[in-house]
């Protein structure tokens, strides 16, 4: 008899409590864009049930479903039986990697972070024309997507922080590496150590993150506990801005896309909306919002591994922005901005950007 996989040891009862009602199918972004029931949470739990029952074994044939999950947690939110699918999937991916079964894009991600300091393997980071590693009250932590793919967005955020006279510094940041835990690997101690040292050297009282995923990693992963132990708090830029007075407004029709990492995973829904309502009285929600928001399709390694479906998920989200005739889609995550912008069709004239970049633009226009 084979040894039990860790996912069985940890999650057997939960997997068996999936009653196959299929309610997850209504909200799963992968199902929504593929209409392939094997890929929704029920399909995944059935696979794991059959593995536990000895009918099939973990192997490469299962990669298309077990590695195709954005970990958006909409299924968990809607599961009558309370099955925490994203956590189960993360554990199964580790079991898969352990036996040598993994999507090549995920293996590649781990290899890149062994050899480089960011997920794009770019060794020359943008300096954003700012001094780094200063003594300051806050560290602004950009994140890989903001640093290497959405640099204009980041530059605008930094301009806004300057306009608001925030005492912050950038650091020689490296990938928080939290994503490795989602794709079957372990958080990278080398990168953790570098981030902790560089943050603590600044004497900052708080880290402001631009990326909701880095925010989750710093707050929830025990490897980053030394930050809190040294009295450094972690806040997301949307929390930082909620009490800041903004003396700009727009008449444009503005909507807000909840990033899964900030919304369903951290319960932060109102801070961004509070800020947006101050600057955009003509604020309107999309059909799915708050805890029901649709995923942009980028998370859980899906953008890298299943690019076509990832874009299809983003298109479904953008259709909702089109439906309410929005002029601007704001969000609080550069990864969402990146995927939604890539998926935007020519006929979709609305703009997609972060709240901070949009506020900075309004200030530019003033």
């Amino acid at each position: 008899m084979r040894d039990k996989y860790d996912f069985e040891i940890k999650y057997r009862d939960q997997i068996l409590k999936c009653s196959r009602c299929g309610f997850c199918q209504a909200v799963c972004p992968v199902y929504g864009s593929t209409l392939r029931p094997a890929c929704n949470a029920r399909g995944k739990m059935l696979i794991l049930k059959e593995v536990m029952d000895g009918h099939i074994d973990l192997n490469d044939e299962l990669i298309d479903t077990l590695f195709q999950c954005t970990t958006c947690a909409n299924c968990y939110q809607n599961c009558p039986s309370g099955v925490n699918v994203p956590e189960i999937i993360k554990q199964v991916r580790k079991d898969m990697v352990h036996i040598g079964s993994c999507h090549p894009a995920f293996t590649g991600m781990n290899e890149v972070l062994q050899a480089h300091d960011n997920i794009y393997a770019e060794d020359e980071p943008e300096d954003f024309e700012r001094e780094r590693n200063k003594q300051a009250r806050y560290v602004y932590f950009i994140g890989c997507v903001g640093g290497y793919r959405e640099d204009e967005s980041t530059l605008a955020t930094l301009d806004l922080l300057d306009r608001l006279s925030v005492d912050y510094t950038l650091i020689d940041e490296v990938c928080c590496s939290g994503v490795l835990e989602d794709v079957g690997f372990q958080i990278n101690p080398r990168l953790v150590q570098l981030n902790i040292e560089r943050i603590l050297t600044t004497g900052a009282e708080a880290v402001i993150t631009g990326c909701p995923y880095c925010f989750r990693t710093f707050n929830n992963k025990e490897q980053y506990a030394p930050l809190k132990e040294k009295g450094v708090s972690i806040i997301h830029i949307s929390q930082f801005l909620k009490n800041v007075a903004m003396d700009v407004t727009t008449d444009l029709r503005v909507t807000y896309h909840d990033p899964c990492d900030l919304g369903r995973h951290c319960g932060i829904y109102e801070e961004p909306r509070g800020t947006i309502r101050k600057i955009a009285p003509n604020f309107v929600e999309m059909r799915h919002h708050h805890a029901d928001a649709l995923c942009c399709g980028a998370g859980g390694g899906v953008r890298g591994a299943f690019a076509k479906n990832s874009i299809a998920m983003a298109r479904r989200r953008l259709e909702e922005a089109e439906e309410i005739e929005a002029d601007v889609v704001l969000t609080e995550c550069n990864s969402c901005v990146h995927n939604l912008s890539n998926a935007k069709l020519r006929k979709q004239k609305f703009k997609v950007c972060t709240t901070t970049a949009f506020i900075n633009e309004l200030m530019d226009e003033r």
Binding site: C21, P37, L46, I56, L62, S81, G82
Partner: protein, 459 residues
């Protein structure tokens, strides 16, 4: 299955719309029941022509074809019990027409109930039979099951709204039944024959549905009773009162206890809780109806009667009922959700009988359901990995079906027969009725290729 048949399927639907991958085969083995069996392959069909060609070939080659919607059924209806080809209809998901002046909507089978509901809401209309799985269930599945919902008491079930169908028969012919008209007595009612036929006679590819204007006002109330008989009498008296509530739900003692053990709702642990909703077009109208219902509650020794004064209060009253399924789903690894239905006057007797069955077999059965149309959902909770518990569950199920039939009721009010209740068909239907059903099956599907093994049609 021979390679030439697989190649022919790929040629019909396109290689991208054909699968025999393990992950799809596992997924298509199940529905929301405890039954499962692997198919040989699956196809994502997109046109009537494709379905016609698939069936024509399957009929010639004697290969089972199992039409499938969202797979949310609770009776094993979509489980490929004999293997074969799963015909996934979710890609045929277009609302073809909404005609308010004709009071109808025409849809493809893969349209999700909630998507039609949203489209109709823009016109102030709705399609009343709303299964609990409406967010995900497809209308093709609803037609195949003749699905019901919480509004059955006033608005009936899917069958009452289907005006006509396009169906592909097992030999590949495309047949139209019914019409676009509100009324028709033209020939045999083939439409009604196909609604609830569980995919055993043909594949539904287009559905003409009657739609209703959506009532704009509702009133909601709740009453608890220390004695089941009092609750049962209240339900009967409501039927006498001339008021038809849009919803009348009941929660039994075991359900209430389970909710209390698993939530912070702190419900009174009574024999029964009744929840009522009335609907109409003015608040005065719904309040008048509700006042009659509450008078009846008060006449029957309630422990408590409460009317919601706002939408938020109504939502809070509904919380207990809405949490029932989720709470019960978490207690044991397995459950069977039954849907026995009895004449409304026998609801209290059914509840009492279920409690006795649970005690006799030493198994937990929590009951809730639609008191307003006599359709209850005893949920039998057990550990499917413990053979002793499985035995108890099976014995309790058999007793439950006998009880429903003894009370002049039926095995199933809205979930269908499928595999789960097939062994009990003869309990409800006499030899002549069974023979008639089997002859109808032979007439349409002489080679038994469509969803074989269901509804005891082969006996």
């Amino acid at each position: 299955m021979e390679d030439r048949i697989k190649e022919a399927l790929k040629e019909i639907v396109g290689a991208d719309n054909y699968t025999e991958q393990l992950i799809d085969m596992v997924s298509y083995s199940y529905d929301a029941s405890e039954h499962h069996h692997r198919p040989t392959c699956g196809v994502w069909a997109t046109t009537v022509e494709q379905i016609s060609r698939i069936l024509e070939m399957a009929n010639r080659e004697r290969i089972p074809v199992i039409p499938r919607g969202a797979g949310t059924g609770l009776s094993g209806m979509a489980v490929p019990a004999r293997g074969g080809i799963v015909l996934d209809l979710n890609h045929m998901n277009r609302i073809l027409q909404i005609s308010i002046e004709d009071r109808l909507a025409i849809v493809q089978p893969g349209v999700v109930y909630a998507d039609l509901e949203r489209a109709l809401a823009q016109h102030g209309f709705f399609f009343p039979p709303d299964p609990a799985s409406g967010k995900v269930a497809t209308l093709g599945g609803n037609v195949a099951t003749n699905a019901g919902g919480v509004k059955g008491a006033k608005y009936g079930t899917t069958r009452d709204y289907v005006l006509g169908l396009q169906v592909v028969l097992p030999d590949g012919r495309v047949m139209r039944t019914g019409s676009h008209a509100m009324k028709s007595v033209s020939g045999y009612d083939l439409t009604r024959l196909f609604v609830g036929s569980e995919g055993t006679l043909g594949v539904v590819t287009e559905i003409i549905l009657k739609i209703n204007p959506k009532p704009t006002a509702t009133s909601t109330s709740m009453a608890t009773f220390d004695n089941l008989e009092d609750a049962g009498r209240a339900v009967s008296q409501i039927m006498h009162s001339g008021i038809i509530p849009s919803v009348l739900e009941i929660l039994g003692r075991d359900t209430i206890r389970a909710i209390n053990q698993n939530t912070d709702l702190n419900l009174p642990e009574v024999d029964a809780m009744l929840l009522a909703e009335t609907d109409g077009y003015t608040q005065a109208e719904t309040e008048y109806q509700m006042s009659k219902i509450m008078d009846i509650f008060r006449d029957n020794h309630p422990q408590q009667v409460q009317q919601a004064q706002s939408e938020a209060e109504a939502a809070s009253l509904w919380k207990a009922r809405k949490s029932a399924y989720a709470v019960l789903a978490r207690i044991k690894t397995h459950f069977v959700l039954e849907d026995v239905t009895v004449p409304i006057g026998n609801v209290a007797a059914l509840l009492k009988g279920v409690e006795e069955i649970a005690a006799r077999h030493e198994i937990q059965i929590a009951t809730f359901g639609h008191a307003g149309d006599g359709n209850l959902h005893p949920q039998i909770l057990y550990d499917g990995y413990d053979p002793a518990e499985v035995k108890k569950m099976e014995a309790a199920t058999a007793d439950l079906f006998r009880l429903a039939i003894d009370l002049k009721g039926t095995l199933t009010g809205e979930h269908g027969i499928g595999l789960a209740k097939a062994p009990y068909m003869t309990l409800e239907h006499d030899a002549a009725a069974m023979e008639a059903m089997r002859n109808i099956k032979k007439l349409f599907d002489p080679n038994n290729i469509l969803n074989p093994g269901k509804m005891a049609l082969e006996g």
